[in-house]
Symmetry: C2
C-alpha cells in the first residue's frame, strides 16, 4: 500500500512538472459547452499520461476521467481510478495558477485514496481511510469541528447568484463566501481547516479525490438532498465539517 | 529613492516575519462593526511597528491607517503613508493565509510608491510611476490590455448578491467571478494579469498601495461613478486593464 501511495504521488509530481514546463508555450484552447468551459491540449496530455500509468500498473482497473470519452462509467464495481487532469482549467488558462491535478482511487464504490495536487504551490494533499491526511510528506491534524457560523464557505457563483438551495442564507450564516473557481482548492481548504464547507455543482472527477481525503477525517459530504453521490453526471454537492454539514443539510 | 524603496521593503519583510512567528500563538480577536469585521492584536502590533518606522524615518510625513484613530485625514497634502497592517483580517484569523500587508506612499495626493506583501506566499509586489512593477526582486512586464470578456473579475460578495452597480451583468460579461476576501490579493491579480478587473467597496488603506502600483502600468481605477477616489471613508471602487475598466464604466 505504501508503495501504491508513493507510485501515485510520483505520477502527480511528474504530471505537475509537465504542466510547469509548458507554461511559457502557446496553449491550444477549445470551448466545450460554453465560452467559459474550456479544454486545452494540456488537459488531454495530462489525462493521457495518467491513463497510461494506470493501464501499465493496474491493467484491470477502470477509469473515469474528464476528457475524451472516459467521462462515463456504468458502474463503480471493482477498482476505479477517477481522474481530473486539470481541475480549474479556466484558472489554468487565465491565471496560470489556482488549478489542481486530482486522482481518486475507489474499490467497489468505496473510497480508498485521494490525491489533490496544487501544482503551482507544489502542495500535494493526499490521504484515505486509515491512512490519515498529508500535505507532501507532512501529516495534518484533523481540523476542529467548526460550525457554519464559525468559518468561511466556498461557494458556486451560479448557485449563489440564483439562490439555489438556500445558498444565500447559507452564505449569510457563514463568516464569509469565497470563490476560487477550482474544486480542488476549495476541498483542500476544507481539509486543512481554512474553510468549514463547500456548496457547489460538480462532476465525479471534481469530487472523487477530495471525498476520499475527507473520509480520512470522517468529514461529511453528499448530494445536496443528503443522498449519496452517484458518480454519474453533475450533481449539487455539499461538503464540510460534521457540524457545518449538518447545519447546511438542516437548512435545505 | 532606491534607498527609500529598499527601506520600505525591509519594513514589510520584518512585519511579515512578526506575523509568521505569531501564527502558532493565541490571537486576541475583537469585533468592530459586525461579527465578520474583526481586528486582532497583530493588526494593532503591525500598525504600530510600521507607524514607528515612518515616524523615525519620515518625521514630517502624515499617516492614514486602518486601526486606532489613524483612520481619517483632513487632507492628502504633503507626504502621506497609507497603511493597512493586515488586509484580509478574516482570512488571517480563519485561513492563516490569503492576507497582505500594504503601504502606499503619496505626495500631494499623487501616488509615488505602493507595496503589497502577500505574507504567506512571501511575495512582495511593489512599484510606482517611473519605477516599474516588481515581485520581490523580479521586474514584471505590463500585462496584456485584455477586455472584460477575456478575463476573470474579483468581486465584492455583497455587491454581487444585491446587484449593486450592475455587478451581476458585469460578472456575466467576464469569464468568471472570483472572491478571495482580500483587496491586496485581488489587486495583485490585476497587476500580474491573472484577472482583468476588480469591483468592490473599499477604504483608502485597502486601495492606496494597489493604485500606486497600477499607476506604474497606467492601468485604470476610480470610484464607481468614474470620479477620483477621495481617500476619505469607504467608496465603491473599480479597477482594471484600460479596456476592462472602460467597459465597466460604460455599463454603469
Amino acid at each position: 500500500m505504501d508503495q501504491q501511495i508513493q507510485e501515485i504521488k510520483q505520477w502527480l509530481y511528474q504530471a505537475g512538472d509537465k504542466i510547469k514546463s509548458s507554461l511559457s508555450a502557446e496553449l491550444s484552447i477549445d470551448e466545450k459547452s460554453s465560452r467559459t468551459d474550456l479544454v486545452t491540449n494540456m488537459d488531454r496530455e495530462i489525462q493521457n499520461f495518467l491513463i497510461d500509468k494506470v493501464h501499465q500498473n493496474y491493467p484491470e482497473a477502470k477509469i473515469l476521467a474528464e476528457e475524451n470519452g472516459y467521462n462515463e462509467l456504468t458502474s463503480m464495481s471493482g477498482e476505479v481510478f477517477v481522474i481530473d487532469p486539470i481541475d480549474g482549467t479556466l484558472n489554468f488558462v487565465l491565471e496560470k495558477e489556482n488549478f489542481c491535478i486530482m486522482v481518486g482511487l475507489y474499490e467497489e464504490g468505496r473510497s480508498k485514496l485521494g490525491f489533490i495536487y496544487n501544482v503551482m504551490q507544489d502542495e500535494l494533499y493526499w490521504g484515505g481511510r486509515g491512512y490519515g491526511v498529508f500535505c507532501n510528506e507532512k501529516q495534518l491534524e484533523r481540523p476542529e469541528d467548526k460550525a457554519l457560523t464559525e468559518g468561511l464557505i466556498g461557494m458556486n457563483a451560479h448557485m449563489y447568484l440564483h439562490n439555489h438551495y438556500q445558498a444565500q442564507a447559507i452564505g449569510k450564516r457563514s463568516m464569509g463566501v469565497r470563490m476560487s473557481g477550482c474544486a480542488g482548492i476549495e476541498l483542500i481548504a476544507v481539509i486543512k481547516g481554512a474553510r468549514v464547507a463547500y456548496l457547489t455543482n460538480l462532476s465525479p472527477w471534481d469530487y472523487a479525490a477530495g471525498c476520499a481525503i475527507l473520509d480520512a477525517f470522517d468529514f461529511r459530504y453528499s448530494r445536496i438532498d443528503g443522498q449519496s453521490l452517484s458518480f454519474n453526471g453533475r450533481e449539487h454537492f455539499v461538503a464540510g465539517t460534521p457540524k457545518a454539514y449538518s447545519q447546511m443539510i438542516g437548512m435545505l
